[in-house]
């Protein structure tokens, strides 16, 4: 609200201030109700993770009687957590790295229209969003390449992200062409130009695309269910589901496992949400 409207409110007397105050109160009530629905599940997980199993069975929602961290130690060891976390981190880092690097060199010539058919190529990425799910042929491909249940095969599945490509192209279009000319006059080669000059300029877009892509891999559950059969290759999501299958009624243990995953994600979220939000809204609010 600008000071101008505030003065206007004062001038137009009390009624409008009352309506505005009422609107504010209604807003807070609504937000409070929603906040409960969003906070309670997390609090429940924290509370449950601190209970012993008998305590949980006696009263699933009562407050934990003491701070009992055994569940965390158990989940850490029983669920093979360190292994799964390492796998997830490995898949996420390698696939995201390859994807982002290879995409920069696809997006830049498209954004500049450097070659014939660059528009056709961009269209190819756009229509991918509407095509039928590629699940079955993808599986046949990985199977026939002999990459089923292998780490390279699993990583291969995550080297593409049409939305990420579109974000990169759109951002690069905002980089002035005069830079190309200046660099060419200075005698820079193409690779050096993209690497040394373009890359630093598109850092925000790279951050957005990296975070979006990485979250997708980190949280993926369908692909590991299909492609990875040996437990030593499982990512953490698959590990959690298997843990749930085995220790299904041990909710304190499960809650501890879930919490150990939430904490790093929540911390990361606080730092990264700016980039995710800018990525999700990129191009979606302009005409």
């Amino acid at each position: 609200m600008t000071t101008e409207t505030q003065t206007k409110d004062l001038l137009s007397g009390g009624t409008q201030t009352t309506t505005r105050r009422r609107a504010a109160i209604a807003s807070y009530v609504l937000l409070a109700v929603f906040a409960v629905v969003y906070i309670v599940p997390s609090l429940l997980v924290i509370n449950t993770s601190l209970k012993t199993l008998p305590e949980f069975f006696k009263d699933p929602i009562g407050l934990a009687s003491s701070l009992n961290f055994d569940n965390f130690a158990n989940a850490w060891n029983l669920a093979n957590f360190p292994r799964y976390l390492l796998n997830t981190a490995f898949y996420t880092a390698v696939a995201t790295g390859i994807f982002v690097l290879s995409s920069i060199f696809v997006a830049f010539p498209i954004a500049r229209g450097y070659f014939k058919g660059s528009n056709v190529l961009l269209t190819l990425y756009v229509i991918a969003l509407f095509l039928p799910p590629a699940l079955i042929p993808q599986f046949q491909l990985i199977l026939n390449l002999g990459l089923f249940n292998t780490r390279p095969g699993y990583i291969l599945l995550f080297l593409v992200n049409p939305i990420g490509m579109i974000i990169l192209v759109n951002y690069m279009k905002s980089i002035p062409r005069s830079l190309d000319e200046a660099a060419a006059v200075d005698g820079a080669g193409y690779f050096r130009f993209v690497w040394k000059i373009i890359l630093p300029l598109i850092r925000p877009a790279i951050a957005t695309v990296t975070v979006l892509h990485a979250i997708g891999i980190w949280n993926e559950i369908v692909m590991p269910t299909i492609y990875l059969t040996s437990a030593d290759k499982y990512p953490i999501t698959r590990g959690l589901i298997v843990f749930e299958g085995v220790y299904g009624s041990d909710w304190p243990g499960l809650a501890a496992a879930v919490l150990m995953l939430i904490i790093p994600m929540a911390a990361l979220f606080m730092f990264m949400q700016r980039y995710i939000i800018s990525g999700l809204t990129a191009g979606s609010v302009k005409g």
């Binding site: 937000l31 590629a134 042929p137 599945l157 193409y190």
Partner: protein, 311 residues
Amino acid sequence: MQVMKKGYLFGTGRRAALPLLLLVPGVFFYLLIAFGPSLATAFYAFTDATGIKGLPINWVGFENFREFLLRGAASRDNLAALQRTLVFAFFVTTIQFSLGLLLAVVLNQKLRGRFFFRTLFFMPVFLGVVIQGLMWKLMLLPRGGPVSEVFSLFGAQSEFLGGPPTQAFIWVIIVQVWANVGITMVIFLAGMQTIPSDLYEAARIDGARGWQLFRNVTWPLLTPAINTNFLLNVIGSLQAWQLFLVLTGYKPGTQVLGYLIFAEGFGQAGGASSFRQGFAAAASIVLFILVLILGMVANYIVARREKKYMA
């Protein structure tokens, strides 16, 4: 050979081929694992492909489609899944769109703590389906869980996810909206922030208040964000099924098409002939046609709105 257009400044002849060379890996990955397989779905839909390596793949014509649509009890289940997909998409789209808009309108005011609330509602997007699902399984524990306790205040009792299919289905819709309304809200908020504040000033001077401001300023000027959200919600909810995987499993009476494709194709549907990938591919084509038709309808609605407000 002239490979690059005139505007390319970094060398000529063989040196000019470098950008194309560097472009190859990215495009290759894309064609190999996304675009190619998407198109190939149409081929596999007409075969009896299995997931077993070395087994021959035979052409079976329209057999998979006939089975999906026309064959007795099994096709009744398939058609029920198709219908359920539509019901799921309808409710998720409607609720998520309206709630997202409501939250955005509320959080677009200069309220104290609005960033906290925005972060809070957006959080589940970051956590992913497995954590979302496990959290709500715990919330929906039939004996002594928080939701069950609230129910018992009203003398009601429910098995929630383990109960009758319709009930379980409703809970998945609720969790789906809970998990994704943050995206819708954020897109609306971004749209609202592009509306110049002097337009509100002008409308206020003309005597517009509250609802009128929303109806005559926000709603028309929010058109791009409304379009994006509408299309994203329709297409996204038709294809969503992963929360079912975590929350209910492949439970009869709750299956949607996306889950049916996965279950039939990868041996989760049970029965002797698991890994029916030809059939799953045919189901993928059915889902694709559904998305295409409804996507076009949504696009038509959006285009009409645009004509009305952006002319």
